[in-house]
Symmetry: C2
Amino acid sequence: MELIKNVNGLNEDAALDFYEKMFNALADKIRLKIMNEIGKSPNMNLCVCDLEEKLELQQSKLSYHLKKLVDANILIPEKHGTWNYYRINEEQIQVVLSEDTCCKIF
Amino acid sequence: MELIKNVNGLNEDAALDFYEKMFNALADKIRLKIMNEIGKSPNMNLCVCDLEEKLELQQSKLSYHLKKLVDANILIPEKHGTWNYYRINEEQIQVVLSEDTCCKIF
DNA sequence: ATAATTAATCAACTTTTTTTGATGAATTAA
DNA sequence: TTAATTCATCAAAAAAAGTTGATTAATTAT
């Protein structure tokens, strides 16, 4: 049983890097809460100031965690004037998680 | 859209802890390689000394990472004489990963 | 009984990750 | 133009995770 298969034509080592990065991005309570809040939001996106309120976290801490999720291509940033909105990259999420799991977490 | 649903009747906070722990256990190249090697093995289990050889890692380092996977209930340890065998807890894995993803990683 | 093998655990150390408060750039409002 | 808001980035500090080599216990082989 071969376990680690290519992810979009990556070699085995790059695939390991990919999964490590994806799991790592999701392996944090704050970041899971960010995903959860965005998923719950009416437009499926939130700006930093929304999250600041909802999660009661300071801005620089939020930026740090948002960056991690963007770097893993799990969140997509969108600038609207002074506001930076973030939405979930469902395609990327679904590479790693089942729809069922996806529904439970996000 | 409610994202974080109960995992086996856990409340939301406990569910977050659960996923954080699971993703964290999987968010490491060495641990992914361990899973991969066990999945490839004929009996679907390997002892520490097998892994030592296959992954060229020192014993104490392996024990450290194996413990992380056991603590997350992703690996199940089985003692046979002096040998400690580890096998994958597929049930637990499937709580978090889709069969498709599962096939690609493990 | 003695020696060798297997593997968990420990403490010291190193490395990585996260937090914190401050600064500055860009945009909007007055 | 000036003041206020939004948010990324930075450096320093704190916290967490991972590594290393040694010790120990249990089992197996001689």
